[in-house]
């Protein structure tokens, strides 16, 4: 397979992803009424008695989410007149000459100008077109941390530069000053031991759920209760905390507690908690269920093909038809009912939590049930198809026994189309399983997308759609590459091919 083919295909994948994001933005930002995002927001509800503050709040949120650009007349006047000057006071009067000028200027620019209900001052807003919205989103997607990232007017003497040193927990680190993160590169005792904070994916801040956290933090931070351990801060102060020193970021306003612990402005941090992150949880369940599925599905499928139309084959078919015919919701409930009655296993994940292995068994096996059926069905189909091939007869004529023919020849050929699906199944683990996770109350990725849609968390919806689409498009490509590796006869670039 040529490099040119992969490059072309990657390029077309990027175009596909762009179109997908355009559709997602249109769905989320223009089909859903924009007022509905406030339905789950407590901050909005508290402002019910203050109409002007409410208008400000609403338009600021919309501006932050990228719906529109918003200008208050008072902000505009601040660029013209000095604060507390008589001109300023005059301009702020509703109906003043300056106010009318503001209105005329912004209406000429295509803005809609309206007046606050109480103060009567003007404000202007203009919708951002979807294409521009998508462009801005992609432009901000990758964030690189440089010594000039922090812009803090209260700290003009902030040094800007990089140096090598040690973290508080004893790891080696590339330390930045003027960067958002204190430690750009650092080592510690946790997987994958070397961590970086230089290049980050930036999907924006989650709203209205998980307010104030950026999307990547929501998905990747550990959940549950803080795991405290004795720590020594940079100032020499000792205490009990779950602080992860590698996550220290710049904080503009330090309080007394911060000054007791840190010698510089890097005082915002995340803490270690006892439950794995959402992505981590889904991935653990997904990977183990895949192992179960391939470990059982492949051999059973081969067995069914070898015993075609005999008892083993028929029993296998009964299982496959059962899984096809009965909705997953029903058979997962049924499985849970039977398994909790037979073994000492908890019916929900939260009974014992992530630290107990018993919590993981039922969700993992439940998730494997349909995959086992699918793998059995297709393995059987492919093996049966291969069994009538000429090379099998030839191998038999050469005197190979059944086991050698199956293991050495048929299985290798039958596995080819199945190998293509492996990257896609692995990628699927990240997306999580909606029904399994909600039946067992697992805190994974499965419920994230439906929850985010229901709570009108547009930032989260867009980020998840992008993550899932990218992973899925790339995994199809990876599958095709694997296909050509396991079967060199297949060429993706062949012109007169049969697919």
């Amino acid at each position: 397979m040529s490099k040119g083919y992969i490059r072309n295909r990657l390029l077309r994948s990027v175009i596909s992803i762009l179109i997908i994001m355009l559709i997602v933005f249109t769905l989320v930002y223009s089909l859903v009424p924009r007022n509905s995002i406030f339905s789950g927001d407590d901050g909005y509800r508290k402002l019910a008695a203050k109409p002007d503050d409410k208008t400000d709040y609403v338009y600021n949120i919309w501006q932050k989410l990228g719906y529109l650009t918003f200008v208050r007349s008072s902000d505009y006047f601040q660029t013209l007149y000095a604060v507390d000057s008589p001109e300023m006071a005059e301009a702020l009067q509703p109906g003043s000459e300056a106010a009318e000028q503001f209105k005329a200027k912004y209406e000429a620019d295509g803005y809609t100008v309206e007046a606050y209900t109480k103060s009567g001052r003007y404000y202007a807003y203009k919708d951002v077109p979807i294409i521009k919205h998508v462009a801005i989103w992609f432009a901000n997607l990758i964030k690189i941390d440089t010594p000039w990232s922090v812009k803090d007017e209260n700290n003009p003497d902030l040094k800007r530069g990089l140096s090598f040193g040690l973290t508080e927990s004893g790891g080696v680190a590339l330390i930045g000053s003027g960067t958002t993160h204190k430690y750009l590169l650092y080592t510690d005792s946790h997987f994958p031991w070397l961590h970086q904070n230089i290049i980050k994916l930036n999907f924006g801040d989650s709203y209205p759920t998980y307010q104030g956290l950026d999307v990547m933090t929501v998905l990747f931070q550990t959940q549950g209760t803080e795991v405290k351990r004795p720590v020594t801060y940079a100032t020499g102060k000792e205490g009990e905390s779950g602080i992860i020193f590698g996550t220290l970021t710049y904080k503009t306003i330090l309080d007394r507690m911060d000054r007791q612990k840190f010698t510089d402005n890097y005082a915002t941090f995340r803490t270690a908690k006892n439950q794995p992150s959402m992505i981590g949880t889904s991935f653990i369940i997904g990977v183990f269920s895949l192992l179960i599925a391939y470990g059982l599905g492949l051999p059973i499928g081969v067995l069914m093909a070898r015993q075609k139309d005999k008892l083993a084959d028929k029993l296998g078919m009964v299982y496959i038809i059962f899984i096809i015919a009965v909705p997953s919701l029903a058979y997962i409930y049924l499985f849970r009912y039977l398994a909790t009655a037979a073994f000492d296993l908890p019916s929900v994940f939260t009974t014992y939590g992530a630290s107990d292995i018993r919590s993981w068994i039922l969700p993992t096996v439940s998730l494997a049930l349909p995959s086992i059926a699918g793998l059995m069905l297709w393995t059987r189909r492919y093996v049966v198809d291969q069994m009538s091939q000429d090379y099998v007869k030839f191998a038999k004529a050469k005197g190979l026994n059944q086991r050698e023919i199956f293991n050495g020849h048929i299985f290798k050929n039958a596995i080819i189309p199945i190998a293509q699906g492996i990257p896609a199944s692995l990628a699927g683990c990240i997306a999580g399983a909606i029904i399994t996770e909600s039946i067992y109350a697992v805190g994974g990725m499965g419920k994230m997308l439906p929850d985010a849609i229901q709570q009108h968390n547009n930032v989260m919806v867009v980020a998840l759609a992008f993550l899932f689409a990218t992973i899925s498009v790339l995994s199809v490509l990876a599958g095709d590459i694997i296909l050509t590796k396991v079967d060199p006869r297949i060429s993706l670039t062949e012109k007169a091919g049969r697919s």
């Binding site: 596909s16 997908i20 038809i321 015919a325 909705p327 909606i434 439906p450 498009v473 049969r498």
Partner: protein, 312 residues
């Protein structure tokens, strides 16, 4: 020479009339593809039995709800706690549910809607998918672009589309059918495309092309008949999977809404009573399983019977 000659008596013979149409006729037993399919199908008595059971179930599901007049919005026994959770008995064949309705009526009303939804969706997506997939697989120029269309349609998160569409259009049967069809066709089309590509370059098609057969005739006469069995297999899996889909959507709160019964809604509501009142769980699941499995068996048998390779 004279003794060898046979004397013909002209009285023994008469001239046959010459019929141009008759002379073209081949004196072989008449062959009809569909009749042959039918003969193969009815040979297996078990499958015929399953098909009859399926027909009875479908007819019953279509007729019973108009007799019982069940309406999910009217729960006449909702305040009568004695009518709730009655186990199946002579008076209440399938027992009663959490609001005192006859499970028997609810099941058939639900089955009716689920059958209608899955059949209509299957029909729409199959027609769209087969037509588009056949053209897609046949033309390499179209293939390059359709692959990107596939990439896009298949990767817009389905739940997002479903949730926002049912939000914008309002819950109901039309919306549900639209939501299910709007992405599903592309998977059928992709599947058919791959099948068409496999057959497209076979020798008999190359020969046919050399003889000047038009593309359309080739798709219609050379390729689609080969795909009937594949399509049948697909359909027999699609109907049950669409019902499962409907269960999933109902579970996510995106189904038909509260005004209409469906097997999906029943199963998603009744599963929570599985420990205390197992009949509430088992009855709709069993009805659904019988429907799905018999559809699957009949479909598989039809697919085998329709395979042109078994007709040689």
């Amino acid at each position: 020479m004279e003794e060898n000659s046979v004397k013909y008596d002209s009285d023994l013979f008469e001239f046959a009339s010459y019929d141009k149409d008759e002379s073209e006729h081949i004196a072989a037993p008449k062959y009809s593809y569909w009749k042959s399919v039918w003969r193969t199908f009815v040979k297996d008595k078990f499958t015929v039995g399953v098909a009859i059971l399926l027909l009875i179930l479908i007819l019953f599901a279509l007729i019973q709800p108009s007799v019982s007049g069940y309406d999910p919005l009217i729960a006449p026994n909702i305040n009568n706690s004695e009518m709730r959770f009655i186990k199946p008995c002579a008076e209440h064949i399938f027992g009663t549910d959490n609001v005192g309705n006859e499970v028997f009526d609810v099941v058939w009303a639900g089955a009716k809607n689920s059958i209608i939804i899955s059949f209509v969706c299957t029909f729409i997506t199959m027609v769209l998918g087969v037509v588009i997939g056949a053209v897609w697989g046949f033309s390499k120029k179209i293939d390059k672009w359709m692959l990107e269309v596939y990439n896009v349609v298949a990767n817009v998160p389905f739940l997002l589309l479903a949730m926002i569409l049912s939000y914008v259009l309002g819950a109901g049967m039309g919306t549900l059918i639209f939501v299910m069809c709007v992405t599903e066709w592309v998977f059928v089309a992709f599947f058919i495309r791959t099948q068409v590509m496999i057959i497209r370059d076979r020798e008999y098609n190359l020969a046919s092309k050399c003889l000047g057969t038009s593309n359309w005739t080739m798709i219609k006469n050379n390729i689609l008949p080969y795909l009937i069995s594949v399509i049948m297999t697909y359909v027999s899996r699609m109907v049950p999977s669409l019902i499962s889909y409907e269960v999933f959507l109902s579970y996510m709160g995106l189904g038909l809404g509260v005004t209409k019964a469906s097997l999906g809604r029943m199963i998603s509501i009744y599963t929570s009573y599985m420990n205390g009142y197992p009949h509430l769980f088992w009855i709709p699941v069993t009805v659904l399983a019988i429907l799905s499995i018999s559809l699957y068996i009949v479909g598989q048998k039809l697919a085998d019977a329709a395979d042109p390779r078994t007709h040689m």
